[in-house]
């Protein structure tokens, strides 16, 4: 129940600006319903008048005036019904389209403001599904269900009023079976939910199995495991077969049952109406019209019941979607200090002072780490996997904040610096390069969209990728994306280096890629890196000996502690961890 309350609040937030639209919709629906339920009365009257006319003919009277009047009224009411329907449909389409669009834009905007911690602790697929299935479910519910539910409820009320207005006895007969129909609908819906959940579980397991097996098909082939793969598949498939059956039966049952009940109900109404016409105390011609009217009502009356029940599940998933979007919106934003200091270049240097940090509260990764880099110098961070090199990089750019100690720029704590200004001065080249969809030019000018062609070419030349780009048919205008690009892994790295060169950062953080690339590209990357490091203050997480050797200072990390630091020669003389690493792994010779 609380969930529904929250969902209502959520939808209210996005829809409150459409108050006029909603008023128009509701008025249109009320009007349209009024005309729709009233129309059968005129049809009944037309038939009654026609019967009167036929009866009158035998008496030599030929007057079709009242028949024609009824027909004109019927026509008018039909047209007005349609006009009302049209107005409410159009308005609902605009409201639901625009509010979904605002949700989508809001969600993306929120993503841009959230902390890196959120992204590191949630799976991409999970976040993406908010854009896909959750927003989709909400949009479907708003688009299809909102108008229909309102219309159907209005319809039901309208028909009930009309029926009791026309003939109380027949009205009771018509609505008598409603409780049964509603009960059956509720049972069917809850059963459907239960079995569809079970079905989804089994289908999920089967899909998981299929995904894993087919993705690993090369292992299956090289180990000759095809027989085993099929053996594992069969029980999963069998379970799905069993679970799907009940889910399908119950979910498929709603329409035929409601259709059948409507048929039975109509039969009863005809039967009783006929009996009433002959045994009741009203004129036969009047009763005749009543029967026709009530046949229409009986059919119309059942429509909302089956419609509302089939829309119910739509609302169910939309409410879940609203909850998940709400959760995202409730996540904290990145903290930017009020009136933070604006940086203008670096004067002395950057330092980590007694930094303690952990991603989780009770699991400290960095223990009392201190180091500094002077302006224009390069520090190489060295150490085994898991020693905390990447974590330090996360702190320099304020992707995360330290637990204790401080990261300082010219002695100023980064937490006191305006976030935007800080990041303008810090450039990062990540280990895994990212390509955004768009042209190659867009990708290089990513951090400086206003860059001129000359600037872009210069950056690409320094990154050793200009010639390759010029060799492409469309040059810098070639369309690329992360999954579908003309670039090899190594060339992607060059693009991301060019991207950083273009923004000309004061402090450079470079995470050297470990992936294997061919020797030609390798040499290019090396040279591009030399170019980007040249003359900049930089932290480099180094994997290549050449990079380490060109550093002004080497900091050796192990298990989150700085265990050695100094120049290459100094560290070799110390005969510590670094010297051991150097000797045991320097493989040529």
């Amino acid at each position: 129940m609380r969930e529904i309350g929250k969902a209502i609040k959520f939808f209210y937030h996005y829809m409150k600006r459409y108050k006029i639209g909603f008023t128009v919709t509701i008025l249109a629906i009320i009007a349209s319903t009024y005309f729709q339920v009233k129309a059968p009365v005129y049809m009944g009257r037309a038939i009654t008048e026609l019967a009167n006319y036929v009866v009158g003919l035998s008496r030599g009277v030929s007057d079709k005036g009242s028949f024609m009047q009824a027909i004109w009224m019927l026509l008018l009411f039909y047209v007005l019904t349609v006009v009302g329907m049209f107005i409410s449909n159009i308005v609902v389409t605009y409201i639901s389209g625009n509010s979904t669009n605002r949700m989508r834009r809001g969600l993306f905007g929120k993503l841009q403001r959230m902390t890196i911690k959120f992204f590191d602790s949630h799976q991409d697929g999970d976040i993406l599904s908010r854009f896909t299935s959750d927003l989709d479910n909400i949009s479907n519910a708003l688009n299809q269900a909102l108008g229909e539910i309102l219309m159907n409820i209005a319809m039901m009320i309208g028909i009930i009023i009309m029926m009791f207005h026309e003939n109380v006895a027949l009205a009771w007969v018509t609505v008598a079976s409603t409780p049964i129909a509603v009960l059956i609908a509720i049972v069917l819906i809850s059963k459907t939910r239960k079995y569809v959940d079970l079905q989804q579980d089994e289908v999920g397991k089967l899909n998981g199995y299929i995904n894993e097996q087919i993705s690993g098909q090369k292992v299956v082939i090289t180990n000759g495991l095809q027989g085993e793969a099929i053996k594992g598949f069969l029980p999963h498939n069998e379970k799905v077969r069993k679970a799907t059956f009940k889910g399908q039966v119950y979910s498929g049952m709603l329409f035929p049952v409601m259709n059948g009940l409507s048929l039975v109900n109509t039969a009863i109404v005809i039967f009783f109406g006929g009996w009433l016409a002959l045994n009741g105390d009203m004129a036969r011609t009047t009763a005749l019209g009543l029967v026709v009217v009530f046949v229409q009502y009986s059919q119309q009356f059942y429509q909302p019941i089956s419609q509302i029940s089939s829309l119910y599940s739509m609302f169910q998933v939309a409410i879940t979607g609203a909850r998940r979007l709400n959760e995202t919106f409730d996540e904290p934003d990145e903290i930017n200090p009020k009136a933070g200091k604006q940086l203008s270049g670096l004067k002395q240097g950057v330092a980590l002072k007694h930094v303690h940090f952990g991603y989780q509260q009770d699991n400290e990764i960095l223990h009392d780490v201190s180091m500094n880099v002077e302006k224009g110098r390069m520090v190489a961070l060295v150490g085994p996997t898991g020693s905390g090199k990447t974590t330090i990089m996360n702190l320099l750019n304020r992707f995360y904040d330290v637990d204790k100690g401080a990261v300082t720029f010219d002695g100023v704590d980064v937490r006191d610096i305006d976030l935007k200004s800080l990041r303008e001065h810090v450039g990062i080249v990540l280990q895994d390069s990212v390509i955004f969809s768009g042209t190659i030019r867009d990708n290089i000018s990513f951090g400086k969209p206003e860059a001129t062609d000359e600037e872009i070419y210069a950056a690409a030349k320094q990154a050793n990728i200009h010639d390759f780009i010029m060799g492409l048919e469309k040059g810098y205008k070639t369309q690329v994306s992360d999954e579908n690009s003309v670039f090899s892994t190594g060339q992607k790295q060059l693009i991301s280096i060019a991207r950083t060169i273009l923004t000309n950062p004061t402090l450079l953080i470079l995470d050297e890629a470990t992936s294997n690339v061919d020797t030609v590209t390798e040499a290019k990357i090396q040279k591009a890196m030399d170019n980007v490091i040249q003359g900049r203050t930089s932290f480099v997480i180094a994997h290549r000996l050449k990079t380490i050797l060109s550093a002004d200072k080497i900091v050796v990390l192990k298990d989150g502690k700085v265990i050695e630091q100094g120049s290459h020669e100094q560290l070799l003389e110390e005969k510590g961890f670094y010297s051991e690493l150097y000797h045991s792994q320097f493989v040529f010779e």
């Binding site: 039966v249 039967f271 009996w275 969809s437 590209t521």
Partner: protein, 571 residues
């Protein structure tokens, strides 16, 4: 369609019954207005004795219709899920016969989508087909005939109605299909942008590009909204339009009955049922149109499944008795090119490896070294030339003997969810704990396995998320060596290991698997330094062969590679 026919055979009785029940259902729906007409006639003629009989008829027929509907749903569900499960099984079995080439052509992810989404689409198609495919034409034709039969003078009203409804449907459904396509494209684009912003969140933040990315996204989002509203507007017009057309037909019918009443008083009684039939004709057309639009999607799925089933496995194995192969390998004038590529990946390769040798293969990316290795376990067949293992042409060896003799460790370490033991047993079905200990020591995996309290019973999660890249590779190597294969191929499979562990693995291979011929494919010369022999590949050709010392002296290509890598590799 052929797939459906083949898989329907098993369930012909259920399908037949489902069809019968649909006919019964449609029949009872059609009969009701006829009885209504009789009731009205009885009222007009004051024949009260007829009412009871007619009433009982009415109710019995309606109940039969209801029961038929329920039975139909059960049968349809049964057939739909059985057939789709059968189809899924057929497709899965088919994929299991595929060779490397087939898998690469389809791409694994794509095959998964076909097995899941596409089969699902087909299941929905079968379900709706059995529930309403017959119902719609029966209702249409039945209502059409009955309507004309009821008041034959007004046949033209029905005709005009049909033409109008078909006209409106044809005009809008086609347009809608186009816009659905545009919408799908924009939805994909929204997902792409969201996804790349997730993957590149650090880049976006560190370049301060949040606002620009929002702008880029909002443009697409607004376009999507425009399409959404367009399609919505189309629907907003469509439904009232249908209603209006139907209503106009009703009014026209009543008006003209007014003229008929003079000469044919019976037609007054017929109005109600005539109107009823008119409505059914209209609904049948609308539902039919919608079903056609939506089943188009299922037809695409059917076609995609057809493609999988029609694919011939590129490699089939002869039915010959099992044989023990020794570890010698020879390539005789082997040339190979991937399908659809003009330039051959391997050009006239000749070499021999003796049992027990350790052979390194180096060369630039794209030089063909991985391809060469993949011919040894017959993952591909060369276009010309012969590959022999143990002196026997691979085309004369049955699959089981070959898999037993050759173990291949892929560059990308793939583990399956289950336990570590389950994964290792893939390399040797009846592996004992002793085997596992031995193999994991060789692959330097024992070190971390021993630290796990459950050791070989420790679970491997989906996507093996609970192991690091280096651990995965070591487990993958363990799986490769556990069966003590005659030939072991390591395709750059130590790339995530540090130099120290890599060296330990190679030393262990040297000691523990003396009789095994080992092929080590590597980007780094450091990885093959200690090989008995190194093959140098360049642009699909074998350009050098010898020990490190020999090649450094005499081979130009090797010297180039060596020069760029020298002193580069460290920590």
């Amino acid at each position: 369609m052929k797939i459906l026919k083949e898989h329907a055979r098993k369930y012909w009785l259920d399908i037949l019954l489902a069809m019968v029940t649909v006919v019964v259902m449609a029949g009872s729906t059609l009969w009701q207005p006829k009885l209504l007409q009789n009731v009205i006639t009885a009222i007009l003629q004051n024949q009260s004795h007829k009412i009871t009989t007619l009433g009982i008829y009415l109710i019995v027929i309606a109940v039969i219709g209801l029961l038929a509907g329920i039975l139909n749903t059960i049968l349809s569900a049964k057939v739909a899920q059985s057939m789709s499960a059968d189809i899924r099984e057929t497709v899965f079995r088919k994929i299991e016969t595929f060779s490397f080439g087939n898998i690469e052509k389809f791409q694994a992810g794509n095959l998964v989508v076909r097995l899941t989404n596409d089969v699902n689409q087909i299941q929905n198609l079968i379900m709706t087909a059995l529930q309403s495919l017959l119902r719609v034409p029966i209702l249409f034709v039945g209502a059409f005939i009955l309507a004309i039969n009821t008041i034959h003078q007004l046949w033209w009203i029905i005709l005009v109605l049909v033409l109008l409804v078909v006209g409106i449907s044809a005009a809008t459904f086609g347009k809608m299909g186009r816009h659905f396509g545009l919408m799908q494209g924009l939805i994909d684009r929204v997902n792409e942008l969201a996804k790349e912003n997730l993957v590149g969140v650090r880049v976006v933040k560190s370049f301060n590009q949040e606002k620009n990315e929002e702008k880029r996204f909002n443009e697409v989002s607004d376009q999507l909204n425009e399409q959404n509203i367009f399609v919505g507007t189309l629907f907003s017009v469509l439904i009232p339009a249908f209603t209006l057309v139907g209503n106009l037909a009703v009014v026209t019918a009543i008006y003209f009955v007014g003229d008929l009443a003079k000469s044919d008083p019976g037609s007054v009684a017929a109005i109600a049922s005539f109107v009823n039939y008119l409505m059914q004709v209209m609904f049948a057309i609308i539902i039919g149109g919608m079903m056609m639009t939506f089943s188009a999607r299922a037809m695409v799925s059917l076609q995609r499944i057809r493609e999988v089933l029609d694919t011939q496995p590129e490699i089939t194995y002869p039915e010959v008795p099992e044989q023990e192969l020794d570890g010698s390998v020879s390539f005789e004038n082997v040339s190979f090119s991937y399908e659809g590529e003009n330039t051959p990946t391997l050009k006239d390769i000749n070499f021999k490896a003796d049992a027990g040798e350790m052979i390194g293969i180096v060369g630039a990316t794209g030089s063909g070294k991985s391809t060469l290795a993949q011919l040894i376990p017959r993952l591909f067949d060369p276009q010309t030339g012969v590959v022999k293992v143990g002196g026997v042409d691979l085309k004369q060896v049955n699959e089981k003997s070959l898999r037993k003799a050759v173990a291949f460790v892929l560059q990308r370490a793939i583990l399956f969810s289950g336990t570590i033991g389950d994964n290792l047993k893939q390399g040797k079905k009846d592996a004992t704990e002793h085997d596992m200990n031995r193999a994991s020591r060789i692959a330097q995996a024992a070190e971390f396995i021993d630290r796990l309290p459950e050791r070989y019973e420790a679970s491997v999660e989906e996507r093996s998320a609970n192991f690091s890249g280096g651990q995965k590779q070591r487990l993958s190597i363990t799986r490769g060596v556990i069966g003590q294969p005659k030939i072991l191929i390591m395709d750059d499979s130590t790339s995530a290991l540090d130099a120290h562990s890599e060296k330990l693995v190679q030393e262990a291979l040297n000691h523990e698997l003396k009789g095994t011929t080992t092929f080590i494919i590597a980007e780094k010369i450091a990885s093959v330094l200690h090989a008995d022999r190194i093959l140098v590949m360049d642009d699909g050709q074998l350009v050098g062969e010898g020990t490190h010392a020999q090649l450094v002296k005499s081979n130009r290509i090797y010297q180039e590679i060596y020069a760029t890598q020298k002193g580069k590799e460290a920590i």
